[in-house]
């Protein structure tokens, strides 16, 4: 017994010492960085706000890589550093992270927050501090209705994606019996609601599943019993993968249409061959349409850009253009972004008075041979 206690004491002491050492090490290098930065002409920071770890990390990493590339390519007079605010996609963690971002005076612009839920939670804090944010991926329409002057969006919201998905279902697929399903999330239910409303009488049935559910047998029965030849699902990829697999083995052979929350290779991993031929709408431009960015990204990372990587790159370049223009405070940056007009890799960038982009595109993607490939641009009215 005595020996055990001793061993533990020794172990504890060693660990404590180790922690202390690490802590000291951390402080030193921080100071060094700070003095290095101060040596340059001017030093400012841009923040990335989104999930970098946790269940939704794939999406956040995609965006951050675009942000990083833009900063690496930047050749202006200022020292621009990237501050990462890893929210794990959580709404509850977002306010505190936002506070730590506004407390850092060097941060004059934020790319993010990545998701709609965390944007809703962090938005008021950024608005109060006057720190401009450009989200490359949050699509809930209500975000722009809060009167936050600091809110800007790099992509079309669900009020354009929803009708575009509905238009694709009616015009391209030519379906008049559609089943609409969602996952009760802020994003999924919102989008499915818009699709349902736009399709009107063509909707033959609706159902709501639960996040993290794994068995959908009763939903499958509802779909097959309704006789629908097309199904729209608003939600994220984990459930979508399982859902399409069970729909197919349950005898549903109609078209499966879903949206940007599903546009990730993990959807195909979970759904397997059942995902073949399914349609994914997304307010994002196919990477092949932005060859310069595509090549530069591939050269820098050895990988191909993911969903919203290009939007993250564009958002960062707006801020970098501001820094070059001498907008080195939050106030100046806010004004610069609000009046910005210029070319980006995804579109001609300009924002309206609510912070929405004036040019939006929605594309339909299709799963072919286990890859998500661009199908056609859907005209938006």
């Amino acid at each position: 017994m005595l020996r055990t206690t001793m061993t533990w004491r020794v172990a504890a002491t060693t660990m404590a010492a180790g922690l202390l050492l690490t802590a000291c090490g951390g402080t030193t290098s921080d100071e060094e960085e700070a003095s290095d930065a101060a040596g340059g002409g001017c030093a400012v920071s841009l923040g990335f706000f989104g999930a970098l770890t946790g269940d939704y990390a794939a999406l956040g990493q995609n965006i951050k890589n675009g942000v990083q590339l833009a900063i690496d390519q930047y050749e202006g007079d200022c020292d621009v550093t990237l501050e990462e605010y890893d929210s794990q996609g959580s709404e509850t963690a977002a306010p505190d992270l936002a506070k730590s971002a506004i407390d850092d005076d060097a941060v004059i612009g934020i790319v993010g927050p990545a998701f709609s839920g965390e944007s809703a939670a962090a938005g008021p804090i950024f608005a109060q501090a006057g720190l401009p944010t450009i989200t490359p991926s949050a699509t809930a329409p209500t975000l722009a209705e809060n009167g936050w002057e600091t809110f800007f969006r790099m992509l079309g919201n669900d009020d354009t994606q929803g009708p575009a998905a509905a238009a694709y279902i009616s015009d391209t697929i030519g379906s008049t019996s559609v089943f609409v399903m969602d996952d009760a999330s802020e994003y999924g239910a919102g989008l499915a609601g818009i699709v349902e409303e736009t399709l009107g009488d063509d909707v033959v049935g609706t159902d709501t599943i639960q996040l993290k559910a794994d068995d959908f047998s009763s939903s499958v029965t509802k779909v097959t019993a309704s006789g629908a030849d097309t199904l729209f699902y608003g939600g994220y990829y984990p459930e979508a993968g399982r859902l399409i697999k069970q729909l197919r083995s349950g005898g549903f052979d109609g078209t499966f249409v879903t949206a940007d929350g599903v546009k990730d290779p993990a959807y195909i991993e979970a759904g397997g061959s059942a995902t073949e031929g399914t349609i994914i709408t997304c307010p994002c431009v196919p990477p092949e349409d932005t060859p310069e960015f595509f090549d530069a990204y591939k050269q820098a990372t050895g990988d191909v850009p993911g969903t919203y990587t290009a939007e993250g790159y564009d958002a960062t370049n707006v801020f970098l253009a501001g820094i070059d223009d001498g907008a080195l405070t939050r106030e100046a940056m806010l004004e610069f972004v609000a009046n910005f007009e210029g070319p980006g890799v995804t579109k001609e960038i300009a924002f309206d008075d609510k912070g929405e982009p004036t040019n939006v595109v929605v594309w339909a993607y299709k799963v072919e041979k286990g890859e998500i490939v661009a199908d056609a641009e859907i005209p938006t009215s």
Binding site: G54, D55, A57, A58, A184, D207, T208, I209, Q210, K212, A213, D214, D215, F216, S217, S218, S219, V220, T221, K222, A225, Y237, P238, G241, R242, K245, Q246, R248, S249, G251, A266, E269, A270, G271, G272, S273, A274
Partner: protein, 329 residues
């Protein structure tokens, strides 16, 4: 209401096949509770590890769509053996690491419960971080197909083509429905016979009834407890294979919700009662499907748990109520 009546057969068959999986997992909870009066909350992770073992085995054997019937049976048997072995191993490990010391020192049950919850998180996160673990061991490249996307769903190779076998009412019963329900029934029957007829089974029942007298009569209670965990693990392994065949993918955190459901099934049928676990699983699977049809799919879990509360109000010991110790042979 019309929907429920029109699709009664479909909802019943799919509900039963889901219930069969709940029931197999529930057996693990019920066995351990019957012997130790301990709720092994980490049992859901035992199930999850088995599902991964099944997926990896079929993947490593190169199973893919379009395999011949003989090959499919081979894949499934290999997956079953691998999953049962792996789950059994994890269950034994769990008993050794998380419970045995506590049991020896007669620690309060509450402590064992906390230990179980801790073990559950540790096991789930270990699976969710397997890519990091592999990288750390320098095996990241070799094991890439098995560890990539560690926090996303891993798809089970599509070796079985769902085909309708025969029509019941107006529902086409598929090979998967039939496979899941019959295999679960066979496993359950085997376990029931094992506990009722064999010497080891008698030992389990004796320890459940009175551990002290049992050990005075020459039953090695440590062995018996290990055996109980092993049996629960084997059943969870079988459930895991049926799960990946039916659902098609597995994720590191799948165990949690399924564990809660299976535990519910065990309590519903009468915890500590093997046949109760079977009945509870089926009742729960059916209730979820009928409830979804009647009220709406988003109320699925509400229906299941309301049913639990109502049944426990009128029958506090569950549907069958009788404990493992008192089970007649």
């Amino acid at each position: 209401m019309d929907f429920l009546l029109d699709n009664f057969v479909a909802l019943t068959v799919t509900g039963l096949s889901l219930g069969a999986i709940y029931a197999l997992v529930a057996l693990g909870y019920t066995l351990v509770y019957g012997v130790l009066q301990l709720i092994n909350f980490a049992h859901s992770e035992v199930f999850m590890y088995g599902a991964f073992a099944a997926t990896w085995t079929v993947y490593a054997m190169g199973g893919r769509a379009g395999a011949s019937t003989g090959a499919v049976i081979g894949y499934l048997l290999a997956a079953l053996v691998a999953a049962m072995a792996f789950s059994g191993l994890i269950a034994l490990l769990l008993e050794r690491v998380a419970y045995r010391r506590l049991r020896k020192q007669n620690a309060p049950r509450l402590i064992a419960l906390i230990s179980a919850i801790g073990a559950s998180f540790a096991l789930a996160e270990l699976m969710g971080l397997r890519d990091k673990v592999a990288d750390f061991l320098g095996l990241g490249e070799t094991l890439r197909p098995y560890v990539r996307g560690a926090r996303n769903s891993s798809g089970f190779p599509e070796i079985i083509d769902t085909t309708p076998l025969f029509t019941l009412g107006d529902y086409d019963v598929t090979n998967i429905d039939l496979l899941v329900i019959t295999s679960a029934l066979v496993m359950m029957l085997a376990l029931d016979l094992f506990v009722a007829r064999t010497r080891f089974g008698r030992g389990i029942r004796a320890v459940a009834q009175d551990p002290e007298s049992a050990s005075l009569m020459g039953v090695n209670s440590d062995r018996t407890v290990q055996l109980t965990f092993l049996l629960g693990g084997l059943m969870a392994g079988a459930a895991a294979v049926l799960y990946v065949v039916k659902i098609g993918s597995i994720r590191f955190d799948t165990g949690f919700l399924l564990g809660v459901k299976a535990f519910t099934a065990a309590v519903l049928g009468g915890i500590g009662n093997l046949r109760g676990a079977l009945l509870g699983g089926f009742v729960l699977g059916l209730a979820e499907n009928y409830g979804s049809a009647l009220i709406g799919t988003e109320w699925r879990d509400v229906v299941a748990f309301t049913l639990l509360v109502v049944i426990l109000l009128f029958r506090p010991t569950g549907l069958l109520g009788e404990s493992l110790a008192k089970a007649r042979t």
